[in-house]
Amino acid sequence: MITALVDIVFDLQSIYDQHKILDQKVVLCIMYECYNPCRLFVIEEEVREKLLWNLKREVKQMMEEAVMKKCIHEENCIITTLCGAVEACLLHGLKRRAVGLFKTSTTMALLQKIAKQCPEAADVVKTVDENDSFSISKKLSSITHHITSIEETRRTLKAAWYSRYLWIRTALINRSLHKIVDFIIRNALKYYEPYALVADSVQGPIFSSLLAGPCALEFTKMKTTDHFWSDPPAAEIVQRHRMHSTRQTSSKLSPKLKPRLQMNLKRHTSSSSEETRITLPTSNPARDYVESLHQNAKSQLIYGKNNVLVQPKEGQDPLPGYLSLHLTNNDVILKWTPNQLMNGYSSLNGSSSTGSEISENPKRTRCSSKTADVLYSSVYWDYAIYLNMSNIVYLHCHQHLDGDRIVLVAKDGVQHPPFHIKDKGGHLLAFLSCLESGLSPNGKLDPPLWFEKDKGKIFPKLHRRNDQQQNESQVSPSATPSSDEEEEIGDYVFRIVFYQDHNMVNPKQWQWSTSLSSASQNSALPLTDTTTSSVSSQSGSSVSQISPLSTVNSPSLTESFASSSISSTECSSGIHKSVSVRTSIASLCDTMRQQILSRAFYGWIAYCRHLKTVRTHLAALVYPGTYLNDREQDTALTIDAWTELFLDRQSLHLPIDKKEIYRRIYYGGCAPSIRKQVWPFLLMHYPFESTIEEREEINRTTAENYKRLAIDWRDAEDIVCRLDRELYGRKGARLISSTLDSNDTSIVPAVNPELITNDKTLLIRKDSSFSNDVFFEDCTFHSIVLPIEEESSRQSTPLCENQPITSNSALIVTIRTQSVIDRASPYHVIETSCADDDASEILTTDWNLQTDDNHQTNEDENENNDVINDQNKEMVDDNAQCTNERRFHISSPSSSLTSSMDVYMDAVDILQEQQDQKSDDSLIPVYYGRFTKETIDLFSSNLHRIDKDVARCDRNYIYYSNLNNLKKLRNIMCTYVWDNLSIGYIQGMCDLVAPLLVVFDEEVITYSCFCYLMKRLVPNFPHGAGMDQHFANMRSLLKILDSELYEHIHRTGDFTHFYFCYRWFLLDFKREFVYNDIFRVWEIIASARRLVSKRFVLFIALSMLKCYRDIILDNRMDFTDIIRFFNEMAERHDATEILRTARDLVLELQKVIDNK
């Protein structure tokens, strides 16, 4: 059913394929145009077509999705875009007063109007009214003015976006949309202007029939438990991002991006206070957040406790919430989420049922009737706490009658509001033991919890001895006045120690802290229980009124807060401890001094490191002080410019302004038509200073060199072929002899040419049956051997004349088949004029059996061999084609072959002729000609690799669908590898040759340019150091230019975190862009090398990251996500934008380097 629908859609597609692509924006423009009647008549026809085309595209996309996934989720963005397209179609030509004198012409109004006559429409109207979404969206839009928080605006806007096409969406899901549209079309004259799409006699029905497909689909609301984990495809991520970011950021795009690129020293040195309020992710934040509280692939839930009270703000009641500990990569994260966010607003705002839906799913605010809830939820988001335990130094525990309190003090002294666990029953201990185990590999609690045989973990006991025995110390037993239960009540301070911190911590500070703890018996430091309890119900201590929140709000003062609160409490509560108070104040001052000093020190260190990075790593990346004036940025190197700057000056023997040429290419690229002329200069084949004669000389020597190498490797190739034949042929012979009648094996008759031809055609046919699939290209020639044997053995019974085939002749057959399959061999028949000369010298003596056909072709070839000439090649081709056609006529007149296959078959046939000649010497002894065995072995393995990769190189690109061009590619590749046999062929090299060959369409110069290109790129290939350098540079660059993204990548990845750049650097971005863009990228890299930076690729890579940085951050992509994202985005990037950003980044780095 669904596939049938898709077929319909595809049919329609083919009808309309001639129309131009237009995007959503254009549709919006068109919609705008629709309201502007005076301009309408000019474009109406075009508009109709565009509208329909757009709709068709959306429908097609949805049907494809449906086929793939069986059902479509209701929240899939495809639905929204389809609805948009339908809406645009329906709005086209809608009469202004169609739906009533005072009503505005919306499609919803139209729907309400027709609801009286159309039952489907009535249903939809009813459903929509029930949802009451319109009132909501209106309310929402009215309150957006009052909401300042961007987050909030974004969410409301999203809701508005969602509800905009609500009726269309509802109708689609009710599967009645096409009926409604049908009804509208039937009654079009009533509501629409005559030029409207809907009123059109042809396009109207097409419109409604297009919708029939989507209306037959299954839509599902169901979410599997794992729904959120299934990753959306990259395209969807980008689209989502665009949908919700364009509205809010388009106006201030540049200012938004700018500050983020500044170096962010502050964040480096201290960031704990910033972390208390997380900025929630943009894409469906609430859901993601709640989701993140669960155990998931990235983090492990190690502790969870509900109804933990926190007083978020002074003067507010403590809120209950969910306290949880999560173990991510190496960090322990503490989260506290107000219950309101966890379960809706049931406890506070009374709007119990609807609220919950909002909090879980803010996108769907339409369902709620209380707009106030939206406001509230944002407040709660602010209350949510997110702490990385690595930033926490002290953990104060207070055990009260009314429950336990935990106060966390961050490294920078910020004290977080106390978590109050009201419930009895050892929760505090449980929390601590979980925390301890969570910290365990890298950190610990100091003092550690004790372990007792029967009870498991218990609080350290030392303080009790301390209380009893060490009364003279500063801590007195009276500190816990209300200790009813000896065991349970007590206050503790734990220090969180990270092992790697030991190296960093200022030794003095460390000393101090140990001395302090030694003062309290190297163990827990008991405090008065009143110390930091914000809700001082029973203690009566006035000092404890200090609200924790005030400390959070003024981080600058809080440095000493944790300690000062201790001291002040002690002052007030225990006069009798004046001595101890004095010492503790003194030590506190010490601490403060130490902390201030150490912070200043670390700040300075960080700054120095930053400078060092800039100086040592980055300074070399750009050429200093070569700011390019941005004045003429847009001027590309056009034909005129090239003529003026180069050709004219050269003819007048004037010096050439290389820099200006480079500059133009750097900014605007090079006109496609002159690439062939310019690139040899860019890629260093010619120096700019050279005269025409010098260039001819260069060409001549290069060509000679190329020819020489080609002769060599072709000789080697022949030997390789022979050896392979030997190897597999012998095996084949043995197998055949065993399958055939044993009597026959001894007979060695003359090979009957007719018989062979017969067999051959048979094989060709067999080939032709699978030659248009992928695998034939990947077959290496030996792979064909066995089946042929089977074939011949099978044939032996029905075809009597096949019986006398001996091992020898059968072998020949198999060898011929090899060549049919092998795409390697055909090439040298056609192209290898010079090589063949050489080859034939060796081989002619061995040729003793040749069919007439072979003779002919051979003669042709010999004639042609003298010159490398395209024409000759064609001649051979033509000749072969004739033969080919003839043969096909004989063998299989009915075989329907596509034209592209004919090309292939040409090669096959010629090859066969050739192989016929060669095959006869297949059993001569192994020899390596003038090469060593090692060389041949090495080349042999490389040759097979090359053949595999050439065959699948860019076969979807039109240039390489021509077999001749693939042959050229192979020749270049073989020549290079032959010349650099120690490097050998490495996958990816083909990709690098391919664009060059497309530009030059000529072997010699492509080869030369490729050699120059490889000089730069070879270190990037495996076992070279180039890639590691690139990664290291990327790391430093990103650190300086976008520290936020750097931190993110660093946090979520391991040491391989720049791995997603691997292919970029290896292939100079060849796989990331479409062909036209590759040319631009490559010429810009080449010109940038002379102008601004030797390693411009780094800046392109950085710019790629920057273009998607928000997506990466918003979706919190980790290492694997980023790899997948960029792999999927390959060939979809906006090259212009990326190159522009890359140039900006160069400028920016130049400024950073110069500034200091």
Partner: protein, 205 residues
């Protein structure tokens, strides 16, 4: 907050270049086959959710470059693998011979716990081609020798057996995960153990 642990299975596909690793992955995940694949550079992966008995698992299938030279690069991706798929081309004898070294190399580089029992699956691909060179019995024997590795013959082009092979991949990876994880799964959660009987009464969850 009882959420069943999400199961993510990391699967690595290895084998000589051109044996059809990318095709297999795409056939399994997208049920598509095109003849437009290029040689894989670097690494790519696709994810697919499959249901194994009553469990939904997400398979993260990593496709790697086939040239041995890139193997040093693959190391970064091998780590943490739950299963390894070794692919050869039934029409290329050498690709079968290479299985041994792919397997050994993987075990060295990935360093899995209990390498003897690490789940491998061997796939002989391209059985749609007629010029088969490696006989099924030979491959089967090899697999039996190597601690009974499951063996499948597939055609990524025609989608023959691909689903089945990957189901085995998921099943074996899952079985191993259960085996290994059961002992240390409760380790991180130390709260509700026997020493805290009060918890059950005190917690109003």
């Amino acid at each position: 907050m009882s959420s069943r642990k999400k199961v993510l299975l990391k699967v690595i596909i290895l084998g000589d270049s051109g044996v059809g690793k990318t095709s297999l992955m795409n056939q399994f995940v997208n049920r598509k086959f095109t003849n437009q694949y290029k040689a894989t550079i670097g690494a790519d992966f696709l994810t697919k959710e499959v249901q194994i008995d009553d469990r939904l698992v997400t398979m993260q299938i990593w496709d790697t470059a086939g040239q041995e030279r890139f193997q040093s690069l693959g190391v970064a991706f091998y780590r943490g693998a739950d299963c390894c798929v070794l692919v050869y081309d039934v029409t290329v004898a050498n690709s079968f011979k290479a299985l041994e070294s792919w397997r050994d190399e993987f075990l060295i580089q990935a360093g899995p716990r209990d390498p003897e029992n690490f789940p491998f699956v061997v796939i002989g691909n391209k059985i749609d081609l007629e010029n088969r060179l490696v006989q099924m019995r030979k491959a089967q024997n090899w697999c039996t020798d190597k601690n009974n590795i499951p063996y499948y013959e597939t055609s990524a082009k025609e989608g023959v057996n691909v689903e089945k092979a990957f189901e085995t991949v998921a099943r074996n990876a899952l079985a191993r995960e259960k085996e290994i994880d059961t002992p240390d799964f409760p380790m991180p959660i130390r709260i509700p153990t026997e020493d805290k009987p009060k918890d059950s009464s005190g917690c109003p969850c």
